[in-house]
């Protein structure tokens, strides 16, 4: 058998060894890489045959893959010392409350931040609003005063809510009473029932009643007229759609 053939067979054997290691997933450190590299060098140093040189490069590449496997194996092994599930569970069990709280706090990464409209923020907005030039100074002043009162009044939130609920019930009763023979109430007329100043406030509350299902808002697409259809009881809806009504300084826009 020629020396080329022998060298070729030896290289093929080393390649097969590396591939087997890769496939079986056994400890890659079982392969003595250093010895293999020395053997490889001695083969390629002796040979000038291109087939052998090419096969030697292939073998070297396979050995490099084994070294990469060694790297991965080592990384996994080292990681298992601190990311092993059993170890983590033991650490959690062993940790005292203070340590657990500290770990939790250091791990906590809020992904959502929520801002609440505070009285302070409203106050800030109110100041900004007052600083703006207005078209109708008297109205702005009047509105400003109202807001100012609300902002500065030290009200109880729970009481505020109770007041809103009362207002809603009152408005609902009023709406039911205002029904025509067909059971409808003209939206705009209803909003204006307490005067122009209260239109937006009533529209705001009406929106709650409509959204909650105590009334339906129907808009005639041809005339643009909007009608309210109040219900005695809350109605369940299968699907909902949004309807927008717009109010500006001069009143209802559409």
């Amino acid at each position: 058998m020629s020396s080329v053939r022998i060298a070729k067979e030896e290289l093929e054997r080393i390649i097969a060894l590396c591939q087997a290691l890769e496939k079986t997933g056994s400890d890659p450190f079982n392969l003595d890489v250093k010895t293999l590299l020395n053997r490889l060098r001695s083969i390629v140093e002796k040979s000038k045959n291109l087939d052998i040189i090419v096969l030697d490069a292939e073998t070297l590449y396979r050995i490099a893959l084994v070294i990469a496997l060694q790297h991965k194996w080592l990384k996994d092994r080292a990681s298992s010392l601190f990311v092993d599930s059993q170890l983590v569970s033991l650490k959690i069990v062993a940790a005292d409350v203070r340590e657990l709280a500290s770990a939790f706090a250091s791990c906590w990464r809020p992904i959502v931040s929520l801002e609440q409209l505070t009285r302070g923020m409203v106050s800030e907005g109110y100041e900004y609003f007052l600083s703006l030039p207005t078209r109708t100074a008297a109205r702005a002043q009047a509105l400003g005063e109202g807001v100012g009162e609300v902002v500065s009044a030290p009200t109880n939130l729970f009481e505020e809510r109770q007041v809103v609920e009362e207002d809603l019930k009152k408005l609902h009763r009023e709406m039911l009473a205002a029904r025509n023979d067909e059971g409808y109430v003209n939206y705009l007329a209803f909003l204006k029932a307490e005067g122009e100043d209260k239109v937006v406030a009533r529209a705001y509350l009406t929106a709650f009643l409509v959204t909650e299902g105590y009334a339906e808002l129907v808009k005639n697409p041809l005339t643009g007229e909007i009608w309210l259809q109040p219900f005695e009881q809350k109605q369940e809806r299968r699907s909902v759609a949004s309807l927008v009504t717009v109010f500006r300084g001069d009143g209802f826009v559409g």
Binding site: V33, L60, K75, A94
Partner: protein, 587 residues
């Protein structure tokens, strides 16, 4: 440099396979054609559009070529009106000196066939057995055939394409053609892999540091557990000592009572004796007084006797009182002793439950205080993990192993990287050697057409940027870089053919094919190139050359000329050397 066998990597040059026959069925203009070929030079001639190039294309497609010049979709190569096509290349695999050219297949012929359908499906057969494309590629690669390499199969206009190719691509093609495709690629792959591993060493170090932190954690836990155990042990010892100290206390108490009882008993005994003696004396004095009285003894004597009687009577009374006191005390002490014995018995039982008797001189209170201190120390330790010892030893051994292997890994990666450097040098030597052999051939061939040239290798220090540059100069002009703009069309073809022919000896593939090499060549240069081709083919008798030309070729005996022409829209193949006209319709 070693001989040809070394550079080409083929020691068995005399047993190269060759294409014995090409079969085209419903392929382009061929309805059914069988084209017999032979070793040496095969020249395919015929008018334009006759179907000459289809033969070369058929060979390329059958051998798995992905790129096709005429039809970018394989289904376009199917003859119009047909649903499917078959192309087959039959290799001669008869044994030479007992060895077959394709040793993995034990038959005299190896037929590599490809079937194609209009819907784009295709599949391969080798000796009538289904094979995947990868299997076919693997088989052909082993005998040096890479149909996509334009230095092996050069379709129409590919000479132009070769010239316009980037010099790095040219070098890659040369390497592939001589059978060294894997050399640079694998060195590069190995180097990239090893460099990335070395670059990742920092990450691995960090991982090991984290692992060390885990080991430290377990060490602390283990130390805590050890201390906990020591303190627990100490507490148990103290408790045992405490209980036996209580026993000792009870014993002392009992001993004291017993001692007091003994004293009282002695006193009672002594007093009893004294009382007896006094009683006798009192009785004696009484008798004496009576006798004196009866005898009318003088008053002085009588008085003396009476004083003695009174004195002893008083003493007797006191003794009797003391005896009574001691007897009362004894009674009390007996109760106390019974209670002490009961207490002692209870304490002994309690202490025995804690362990064997320990000698101690310490007071129970003192011990109790120490037990409390130890208890506080234990409480301060919290609840150590019971598995801490086991976990620490496992983690420690794993970490030690990981540390050792990390050092081993680093050494391995560095050593392997050094080895890639050696391989790079080997690759550079190989290329320099190859070019040193090809260049004189190239210059010799060019000299036939009155031209000069040179071949240069560039950027060999960088495996990615290494390139080959071919220079040629005609009519006494200094060699210029072969590009699509510097030379004329004919000059480009002459230079490329010269390079191709110079490289022939080192090309690993058992056959080479070139289509319409002579386009743009003037008659003189055409004849010269054909002569060089004929000579080269004659010199390399074991190599198969397939040349396609629409022009006339001076016929020689060694030549296998295949004439292709159209008949009623079909290609007909004629082989004058075999004196046989094979017409597709007749088949």
């Amino acid at each position: 440099m070693a001989g040809r066998g070394d550079v080409s990597g083929t020691e068995r040059s005399n047993i190269r396979p060759y294409i014995r026959e090409v079969i085209l069925e419903n392929f382009m203009s061929h309805e059914y054609s069988r084209i017999p070929l032979q070793r040496g030079l095969n020249v395919i001639v015929g008018p334009n559009g006759a179907g000459k190039s289809s033969i070369l294309l058929g060979i390329a497609v059958a051998l798995g070529q992905t790129y096709t010049e005429r039809g970018h979709r394989l289904s376009d190569l199917i003859r119009r009106g047909s649903e499917a096509s078959r192309v087959a290349v039959v290799f001669d695999n008869r044994p030479v000196d007992g060895a077959r050219p394709i040793p993995s297949i034990q038959s005299d012929t190896v037929t590599v066939a490809r079937f194609m359908k209009k819907n784009g499906d295709y599949w391969h057969y080798v000796n009538n057995r289904f094979r995947t494309k990868a299997e076919v590629e693997n088989l052909l690669t082993r005998i040096g055939i890479r149909p996509d390499n334009m230095l092996i199969i050069m379709h129409q206009n590919m000479i132009e394409q070769f010239v316009t190719r980037d010099s790095r691509d040219k070098l890659a093609m040369v390497e592939e053609a001589v059978g060294a495709a894997g050399l640079r690629e694998r060195i590069r792959d190995a180097e990239a892999r090893l460099n990335s591993l070395i670059a990742e060493e920092a990450v691995l170090r960090k991982t090991l540091e984290d692992a060390r932190a885990a080991v430290d954690y377990w060490r602390e836990e283990y130390q805590k557990l050890s201390l906990f155990k020591q303190l627990e042990e100490r507490r148990l010892q103290l408790e045992r000592e405490y209980y036996w100290a209580l026993v000792r206390e009870a014993e002392k108490s009992k001993e004291r009572i017993e001692s007091e009882m003994s004293f009282s008993l002695q006193e009672v005994s002594r007093l009893t004796q004294e009382i007896g003696a006094l009683s006798e004396r009192v009785s004696e004095f009484r008798q004496n007084i009576l006798q004196s009285h009866r005898a009318g003894a003088p008053e002085a004597a009588f008085t003396e006797q009476l004083d003695k009687l009174l004195k002893d009577s008083e003493l007797l009374g006191r003794k009797k009182e003391r005896k009574e006191m001691h007897e009362a005390e004894l009674k009390e002490l007996r109760y106390e002793l019974a209670a002490a014995e009961k207490e002692l018995s209870r304490r002994v039982a309690e202490a025995s439950a804690k362990g064997e008797r320990v000698a101690t001189n310490r007071r129970p209170q003192e011990l109790s205080d120490e037990i409390k201190t130890v208890g506080l120390q234990i409480a301060a330790l919290g609840t150590p993990t019971p598995q801490a010892e086991e976990m620490y030893f496992i983690a420690e051994s794993k970490f030690r192993e990981a540390e050792l292997k990390a050092a081993q890994l680093s050494e391995n990666a560095r050593k392997a990287l050094e080895e890639t450097e050696y391989r790079k040098e080997k690759w550079r030597s190989f290329l320099r050697e190859l070019i040193s052999l090809v260049e004189p051939q190239y210059q010799r061939i060019l000299s036939y057409v009155g031209a000069v040239g040179k071949i240069e290798l560039h950027n060999l220090h960088d495996v990615d940027k290494a390139s080959i540059e071919i220079y040629v100069g005609f009519r006494g002009v200094e060699p210029q870089l072969l590009t699509a703009y510097t030379q004329s069309g004919g000059e480009r073809i002459v230079a490329t053919m010269a390079f191709l022919l110079a490289l022939q000896k080192y090309i690993k593939s058992p056959f080479r094919a070139v289509d319409e090499f002579d386009v743009h060549l003037d008659p003189l240069n055409r004849e010269r190139i054909i002569n060089i081709l004929t000579t080269t083919a004659r010199e390399d008798g074991d190599v198969q050359y397939i040349v396609i030309t629409p022009g006339k070729v001076p016929f020689t005996e060694e030549m296998n000329v295949i004439v292709v022409q159209n008949v009623k829209g079909r290609s007909t193949v004629l082989t004058p050397t075999a004196a046989e006209a094979v017409q597709s319709e007749q088949r």
